[in-house]
Every structure is written in structure tokens, then in C-alpha cells.
Amino acid sequence: MLSTKTYTYTRDEIVELVRFKSLEQGHDPADVFRNFAAGDLRHFSRLVEAYAYCGLLPEDDPVFTS
């Protein structure tokens, strides 16, 4: 079997993960949060991991409106 592992994160750790994955692709995390909240998944292929982690946050998380 392959190596498998489950990570359980806090809300703040997920926000940091999205920031890291966004910056890694050269995108402003604030734009990524805003676009995800608006359902606008632009640059989907580059930001797919950042958007996926955004989906682990509740829709009303303050990071989507700040």
C-alpha cells in the first residue's frame, strides 16, 4: 500500500495553508480568498490546491470578507 496520512487542522492552520499555496503560485492570498467566496475559481489549475483548502473553511469565515 501507499503511505497514507490524515492531517486534522485548526481554522488558523488552514488559513495559513491557503496563504502558503497562493503565494507559492505567485498569487495574493487575499485575492484567492475573495475569488473563492465569490465562486470565481480563476486560475483554477494553478490554484486548485489553495481553493481546495479554502473549501475546508466555513462559508462565513471572516477571511472571506476581510
Partner: protein
């Protein structure tokens, strides 16, 4: 695969088995990420390290980038649904040397956005002038239904010749059985 809270574990084990039988290198890894206060969501990615690239090493030495976000649907007894998915066959772990990619997003998106499910192929058309000026083939969105993980495995093994770990008749039977089942589970 059962629904409910156990579904994420079943999904992780299923993906593990699917790639073990088929195209994964033995040094590959997958991981499941969850929010401790959002129990209905999970992200499955390839790779050992959350800060690294989400890629699975394949038996041919190339890589499959894999990211899938799923949720449990309370309105259907906790069935697992795919929200977004992307798999990409690429030459190296951490550069832009991709060959093909499949993207899917369940969310309702703007009318000007690409189809929810679509394929990209990096290459060159033999017929000049078929694409708009300065439009590379790799930017074309070929529409499709949700591209499944099973489809990725079959494409890699049967069309691109990636070696498999189990004999063809073994993994093909397993994939056929589970593809129909997972379509019922994930696409409703």
C-alpha cells in the same frame, strides 16, 4: 463505500488501493486533510508533505498531480460528493512540464467560465489555423463530465503505457467495478 463519517477513511483507502494496483510507484503517498471544526469536508491530495507539491510518483518515473475536495452530503444520508478535482500528468514533480490535465468543479460558476468538467492537452495541432491566433492547444477546454480517478488510471496505463503493479485483467476488473459504483456515489 459507506456514507457517513467513515466515508472519508473509505475514500482514502479506496484511492490508495486504486493506485497501488495500477500506476503508482511504491514510494508514493496520499494524504487526507480536514478541518477539526468542519467535519463534513475533506481534501485528498497526493504527496508526503503538506507543504510540498501534491504529486504522486508514477511507475514510469513521471508524476500525477492530484487534488480532490469532497464533502459529506447530509441530504443524502451522508454520501460523499466531489466538489472539485484536478489530476494532471506531468514530467517532473515541481515544474510546468505537464502533458494532460482534467479539471472539475461542482460549484455553479459564471457563464463565461469554462465547462465544469474539462480536459486540457499540451501539444500542437497538425492543422494550422484551426485555433484562434495565439491560442495554444493547452489552453483549450475540452468539455467532459466529471473526470474520474479511474479514468485517469485507465488513460495512463492503456494509452500512455505507464506500467501497472497488478496484471491487466486484475486491475481492469477492479476499476470497472468501482467506476460505476463511484459514479453513483459522487456524481448525484
Amino acid at each position: 463505500m459507506a456514507g457517513g463519517r467513515e466515508a472519508f477513511g473509505h475514500f482514502e483507502r479506496y484511492v490508495n488501493l486504486l493506485f497501488c494496483l495500477t500506476v503508482a510507484d511504491e514510494d508514493s503517498a496520499i494524504r487526507l486533510s480536514r478541518n477539526r471544526s468542519q467535519p463534513l469536508q475533506a481534501v485528498l491530495t497526493a504527496g508526503h508533505d503538506p507543504s510540498g507539491k501534491p504529486v504522486l510518483r508514477l511507475a514510469d518515473g513521471r508524476f500525477l498531480r492530484l487534488v480532490t475536495r469532497v464533502h459529506l452530503d447530509p441530504s443524502s444520508g451522508g454520501a460523499l460528493r466531489v466538489d472539485t478535482q484536478s489530476w494532471q500528468y506531468q514530467n517532473a514533480a515541481d515544474d510546468d512540464s505537464w502533458v494532460f490535465r482534467a479539471d472539475y468543479s461542482r460549484a455553479r460558476i459564471a457563464a463565461t467560465s469554462p465547462p465544469r468538467g474539462h480536459l486540457h492537452v499540451d501539444g500542437t495541432l497538425r492543422q494550422p489555423g484551426a485555433l484562434r491566433p495565439k491560442q495554444p492547444l493547452g489552453r483549450v477546454h475540452f468539455p467532459c463530465r466529471r473526470p474520474t480517478l479511474e479514468a485517469a488510471v485507465v488513460l495512463l496505463a492503456d494509452e500512455f503505457g505507464v506500467p501497472t503493479n497488478a496484471p491487466h485483467e486484475v486491475w481492469r476488473a477492479a476499476v470497472a467495478e468501482h467506476e460505476a459504483k463511484s459514479a453513483r456515489l459522487f456524481d448525484a
